[in-house]
Symmetry: C2
Subunit: 331 residues, 2 copies
């Protein structure tokens, strides 16, 4: 039976969930694809473990200090790299090094963290094309919610007129709290931070940058739009006032932080900002930690998808969907 | 350049839309897939036209009486058959003959009408497997709304706990009219018939059989459930009373005709019937001619997709999505 060797770089909550789910599905991979999947290396920022024969779940707590970095992972000769490290949009590190090394060696890369994709998505796509490696990014664009999939598969053949998304769970949670419980932005944020739904420095979410990052990846990977972060007009929810909330309530409207891509002749325009929607709009029902995408096409009308899965399992599962798509395409 | 020959059986509104859209996308097929797509035959129930070099749009009105039937279509030696004829669930005719002849000859079949798939979906799948031909059915299961796609692609790797769908536009339209305009079932039906949204014999829609047909195809093609129509408990909207409508309104609920498939140990249970949903449920916002599907998974949580495109273009576009999936898989 053909062996498929997998390595995981980045071993926080998501990386661990990926490892656990991958190992639990080994029988599925044998049955459906006729492949023997082995987890040959995992590492975090400082420690790792490798085994040419494949790691078992009980070995994953025995990581050794100093075993980390692209060279360590490449030495395990994986067929597929799953990258689940932290995100730095300004340098792409540490993911950029892992992903680039893999693609240059013809190793398929499944990317979960957004940093490297925002930093130099075009460069990574070019490097993948050069060696014929797959570069898959479902985990980086709203995870369990299908987004790029819809463009590439379900709506194949259509022209895309407009794409709108509620792509950030934290801001959606905050706006719901402000509307439904009459909380101020600061109070809602403090409550979310206590509950672990918002970071201690929440600006990446609240000022719209997380939404913009997902939008950028969606535009460039799903539409080949060639946009840079500077091309996106980004506004967040940090300046939403109690007076605005009151006015929206009086008008029967529901505010959502929406990332939108609109086709304009041969180019795309992308924006992130708050929009107040009527209650008849399905988007107005996307509450709490749910995310959603609406795609308007030329021939298939309008498709809205709403989704939410428990993390980190949902993101892990999205990355392993990418893994099965690679198994399907390479058998 | 590799040529791909396409034939279309069934040439009403949908078949004509398929032909027109296919021919308008010939440059796309050349550019994306490197194939020269030719429409080599089309026929309705009594007349048809064929050309080995490929038909142009202006030739499609020159169909000749007597040129019809599986033998006529097979003589044109298509690589792909698109079947868009009328549906008969009891005999499968006329689609069954066309589809079976194609699959037996190793010709890929894209099916839009539900009759043959309900009549003997298993037999057709077996025949496709035997020759290695693709049998694609997006157009028969809610068309532009992704359904089987979601199971086969976007949620790949998940276990499916439950699938629910608002799959019939006519009943959704009627229920909306009864709730929002206080009309009786009979009055709402008469209005829909006048507007062309309901058949003169509406029972296939109103008694739940159209929903059940789509559910059956979804269960058998998407989940390999092995269900027969007799396994599905089917109820429609024909007995919904004014008193029920009033009670739902008072309770803030919204009735929808829902087809549901639930996993039970190693088998699946399928039902069709009216459910009254709270307004916080995204399904309650699926109004008028929209359709929707909700899939509950083990690892990716719950995904809801809502969609509606103008017919017959949306259905034609769904069948040509299947066509591109075949082009992708065979290049």
């Amino acid at each position: 039976m053909k062996r498929i060797h997998v390595a995981i770089a980045g071993f926080g909550g998501v990386g661990r969930a990926v490892a656990s789910l991958l190992l639990s599905r080994r029988n599925r991979y044998r049955g459906f694809y006729g492949v023997d999947v082995r987890l040959v290396a995992v590492c975090g920022s400082k420690a790792g473990i490798a085994s040419a024969e494949g790691l078992e779940p009980n070995q994953l707590d025995g990581m050794l200090e100093g075993l980390s970095g692209p060279e360590f992972v490449m030495a395990a000769k994986p067929d597929v790299l799953i990258e689940a490290g932290p995100s730095n949009f300004r340098t792409g590190a540490p993911g950029y090094g892992y992903i680039g090394s893999a693609l240059d060696a013809g190793i398929h890369a499944i990317v979960i963290s957004k940093g490297a994709l925002v930093f130099d998505g075009k460069g990574l796509r070019d490097r993948a094309r050069e060696t014929g490696a797959f570069l898959k990014v479902s985990g980086a664009t709203a995870a369990a919610l299908p987004t790029i999939d819809l463009l590439e598969y379900n709506l194949k053949g259509c022209e895309f007129v407009r794409i709108e998304g509620i792509l950030n769970a934290t801001t959606n949670f905050l706006l719901s709290a402000m509307m439904d419980q009459g909380m101020s932005f600061d109070d809602a944020l403090a409550k979310a931070q206590q509950g672990g739904f918002a970071e201690s420095d929440p600006r990446n979410d609240t000022e719209g940058w997380d939404t913009a990052s997902k939008l950028l990846i969606l535009a460039n990977f799903g539409l080949n739009a060639g946009l840079a972060m500077d091309d996106i007009m980004v506004d967040g929810i940090q300046n939403v006032t109690g007076a605005q909330i009151g006015a929206w309530k009086d008008a029967g409207l529901v505010p959502k932080l929406i990332g939108a891509i609109t086709r304009e002749a041969r180019t795309y325009k992308a924006t992130v900002g708050v929009q107040a929607l009527p209650k008849s709009d399905v988007f107005s029902q996307v509450a709490g930690k749910n995310k959603a995408i609406r795609i308007t096409t030329d021939t298939m009308g309008e498709i809205v998808t709403v989704g939410c899965g428990a993390e980190p399992l949902a993101t892990a599962s999205a990355s392993l969907k990418d893994f099965e798509h690679i198994l399907m395409a390479t058998r």
